[in-house]
């Protein structure tokens, strides 16, 4: 079997993808290479939905725009040469026996899907990330596979300790290497882990029906690139299956369901050139040779357009309900100021959640309403925001979490802490504690305390140190809530400071 250049390229990009993924983690440096989110930055779907929802341009999405232009010129090469999800599908598909293709996917469904997402973006809800292939892959890895991997290795290592005791130290260097360069630093369980895994698994399972099923019939990024590729300057010749051979139908992974080449589905893998027994296939510029009138099938009919306009509108507006109770505790990563603004920019890629040192960020399901799904929320009882860390802003591909210099980040307010005097020990039990004050990282302390001479419940005289919050200094980093030693509910909790605007308004 000959190995095509596209296959080599695929494997290289897959490797790059994994290396970047693993390096989206604190590895002893305050700065993380900006390259870690390249796959999102160079993603035209991310770029377009950002443009539509924010209606502004930013340099951050320039690579995505460039990729857009390249795809206009060259076609859907991204899918055949780069996309890591596509590569993974390719690696699986040969092992899965095929039954008949699913009929209902063979319609204009994918266009509905794409345009619904784009229209929703136009109505200020950027949900493209929910179905973006790179985001799907990163989330499956971040929330499911990577913790699973870390956990199993850790389990083995812990097991060794119970077997070998301190003798384990002789092989410590091996584990140290894994821990420092490959493994997640601490294990976390994520809500939505299962859903993230399921979405990924479904894509693989779809291969039961036909090769690259997801790519051909669903993927919004692929569909977008397909639309662009119709204008590309390359065309494959011959444009039809040759009557005497028809082998292309078996060779081609995507573009030959029918007898005529579907240009929008061709991922330029070049398998057909390589495997054609008669050496007939070539890719040539549209300018060369005789021009034939191309008949492109109508996909962007009025029906698709209006249909997705409607569903986009529904998606954006009718799920707008947010429970006020949840809103009080709807905390976003540092620097994400306005909720509406945040929802327009966030691609739900999971990069910030992956990189968060203290596991303070979790993918949301319902706190911010239906369309907040997979967006990062900050949950202080589970993890706090490390004062000297601004990694989440560094890895966010769209600036939904701004990349603030560390001095600025230290001052950016996520919420404000509030004491519950019914729980807090010096108030409720007349016992000294102030663990919270000890941990408050703000120079000069945002948690202060007053002294109060009292008799405790046994009648003994005590000087109580009773904490209170200096609101003007508190940034809502959550370390007090996180470290409060009360079992269960913390006596100090961070609440969203500004009343979050209803989505859309800002």
């Amino acid at each position: 079997m000959k190995i095509t250049s596209s296959r080599i390229s695929q494997l290289i990009f897959l490797a790059i993808f994994f290396v970047l993924f693993i390096n989206t983690e604190y590895r002893g440096k305050d700065e993380i290479s900006a390259a870690v989110n390249s796959f999102f930055r160079a993603n035209p779907l991310v770029a377009i939905s950002y443009l539509l929802s924010t209606k502004t341009m930013t340099l951050l999405i320039l690579p995505g725009i460039l990729m857009f232009v390249f795809s206009l010129l060259l076609g859907r090469f991204f899918c055949g040469w780069i996309c890591p999800l596509g590569t993974i599908i390719d690696l699986f598909t040969n092992r899965i026996k095929k039954i008949l293709p699913l009929k209902f996917l063979k319609t204009t469904f994918k266009y509905y899907l794409l345009f619904t997402l784009l229209f929703a973006a136009l109505f200020n809800i950027n949900m493209a990330g929910v179905l973006d292939p790179i985001a799907i892959l990163v989330r499956a890895l971040t929330f499911f596979f990577y913790p699973l991997f870390g956990h199993s290795v850790k389990l083995g290592w812990t097991g060794l300790y119970s077997l070998m005791g301190d003798n384990r130290d002789h092989i410590d260097f091996m584990y140290a290497f894994l821990r420092d360069y490959i493994l997640p630093f601490r294990d976390t369980l994520y809500p939505l882990a299962f859903i993230s895994f399921l979405l990924f698994a479904l894509i693989i399972l779809l291969e039961r029906y036909e090769e690259r099923n997801w790519c051909k019939n669903l993927c919004p990024l692929g569909t977008l690139l397909g639309l662009l590729s119709r204008f590309s300057l390359f065309r494959r010749l011959p444009k039809k299956l040759c009557a005497d051979c028809r082998e292309c139908k078996n060779i081609c992974p995507t573009a030959f369901d029918e007898d005529i080449l579907q240009k929008q589905d061709c991922i330029l893998c070049m398998d057909c050139t390589l495997k054609c027994k008669f050496n007939r296939v070539k890719f040539s510029s549209v300018f060369k040779g005789r021009r034939t009138k191309e008949k492109t099938p109508v996909v962007l009919g009025r029906r698709v357009f209006l249909g997705s306009l409607l569903s986009g509108f529904f998606l954006a507006k009718s799920f707008a309900f947010q429970s006020p109770r949840e809103q009080e505790r709807l905390l976003r990563p540092p620097g994400a100021q306005k909720e509406g603004e945040f929802l327009k920019k966030c691609v739900r890629c999971g990069e910030c959640i992956k990189v968060c040192l203290r596991n303070a960020l979790y993918p949301d399901l319902f706190k911010s309403g239906f369309y907040g799904m997979f967006t990062p929320v900050f949950i202080p009882r589970l993890g706090y925001c490390e004062y000297n860390c601004n990694l989440c802003g560094q890895v966010c591909p769209t600036g939904a979490i701004p990349n603030q210099p560390i001095e600025e980040k230290k001052k950016s307010v996520m919420g404000v802490a509030v004491f519950d005097k019914n729980l807090c020990l010096p108030y409720a039990k007349k016992i000294n504690c102030i663990v919270c004050e000890e941990h408050c990282p703000v120079p000069g302390k945002a948690i202060k305390f007053e002294l109060s001479e009292e008799r405790d419940y046994t009648g003994k005289k005590v000087t109580l140190k009773r904490p209170y919050i200096a609101d003007e200094l508190c940034t809502g980093c959550g370390i007090c809530e996180n470290k409060c030693p009360l079992e269960g509910k913390s006596a100090v909790e961070v609440f969203a400071k500004v009343k979050k605007s209803k989505h859309g308004a800002q």
């Binding site: 002893g28 300790y161 821990r179 040192l357 203290r358 490390e386 504690c433 000890e438 000069g444």
Partner: protein
């Protein structure tokens, strides 16, 4: 070699070293203070004044050095133990023939960042047989303490099994206990919900220090944090003192360090409790101070 043999050995070697007997008379504690800008040198001087590290560390020993690396702060903020002090101690131990020197703490902030930004990682890198270790969950062992405040607690196995335990805190302010010094530095070998012991800090600290003895205490007072501890974060709260204090008596070391803040040992409840419970001497008049 278990602890008791070790102590005997230590004592007899002091004896043969021919140092004045009076220092070791009953009820007298010795401590050394050394001052200067070369932090490695003053650390060595302070230890040498007690008879040198070989008094504590024998050939083949596993030594644990327990600094205070609790916070993600740069050294100049006086929230973490000075890396030069640590490095000097580690080097001395190796010179004395230690098989392995383990350095670790259970920080409050992200442990990787604390190790890195406190300068410890950089300072200890490349030293042979010296390891800066991340503490691991499975190594905590439930230990019966039978103390006044704590019945049992999870303590770190490597700290318990070491031949020599060297306690190297930094002297700084703390709102609850007023100061955090060597007695409190032992919180770093505790697992579980450590905030819990804030409810009865003094007795808890004595309980722990009764179970795990510090063979040598070296207090880093090169710069001390006067306010807003234990994290600080502002250079306005830092005072440069350029001192290192060493002693085998943990209470004496703490008592002396207290004076650097203009306070009396009696002001620190943890010191008083430890003294009352027989962990060491807190009366400055009864402590022999060697200026090294």
């Amino acid at each position: 070699m278990d602890r008791r043999d070790f102590l005997k050995l230590g004592l007899s070697s002091i004896f043969f070293a021919g140092l004045p007997k009076i220092i070791f008379a009953q009820g007298t504690s010795t401590l050394s203070v050394s001052e200067g800008k070369d932090y490695a040198a003053i650390t060595r001087n302070a230890i040498n004044a007690l008879g040198g590290i070989q008094k504590f560390v024998k050939k083949g020993d596993v030594v644990v050095i327990k600094p205070n690396l609790g916070w993600d702060r740069k050294p100049e903020y006086a929230a973490t133990t000075n890396p030069f002090v640590l490095k000097a101690i580690a080097e001395e131990c190796i010179k004395a023939g230690a098989k392995k020197v383990k350095v670790f703490d259970n920080p409050c902030n992200d442990p990787r960042r604390c190790y890195e930004n406190s300068g410890t990682n950089g300072a200890l890198k490349g030293l042979k047989d010296v390891e800066l270790k991340q503490m691991e969950d499975e190594r905590y062992k439930n230990v019966r303490i039978n103390g006044v405040a704590l019945k049992e607690w999870e303590l770190y196995d490597e700290a318990l099994s070491a031949n020599v335990f060297i306690n190297v805190p930094i002297a700084k302010h703390h709102s609850l206990t007023r100061l955090t010094l060597a007695l409190k530095n032992m919180m770093g070998i505790m697992g579980g919900n450590r905030g819990y012991i804030h409810r009865n800090m003094e007795d808890s600290l004595s309980d722990i220090n009764k179970v795990v003895k510090s063979h040598l205490v070296v207090i880093d007072a090169t710069r001390i944090l006067l306010n807003h501890g234990p994290q600080g974060g502002s250079l306005n709260d830092v005072k440069v003192v350029n001192k290192v204090i060493a002693s085998t008596d943990i209470v004496a070391a703490d008592a002396y360090a207290t004076t650097l803040f203009g306070l009396n040992p009696q002001d620190i409840a943890a010191t008083v409790t430890a003294y009352k419970r027989g962990l060491g001497e807190m009366n400055l008049s009864k402590i022999k101070v060697i200026k090294a």
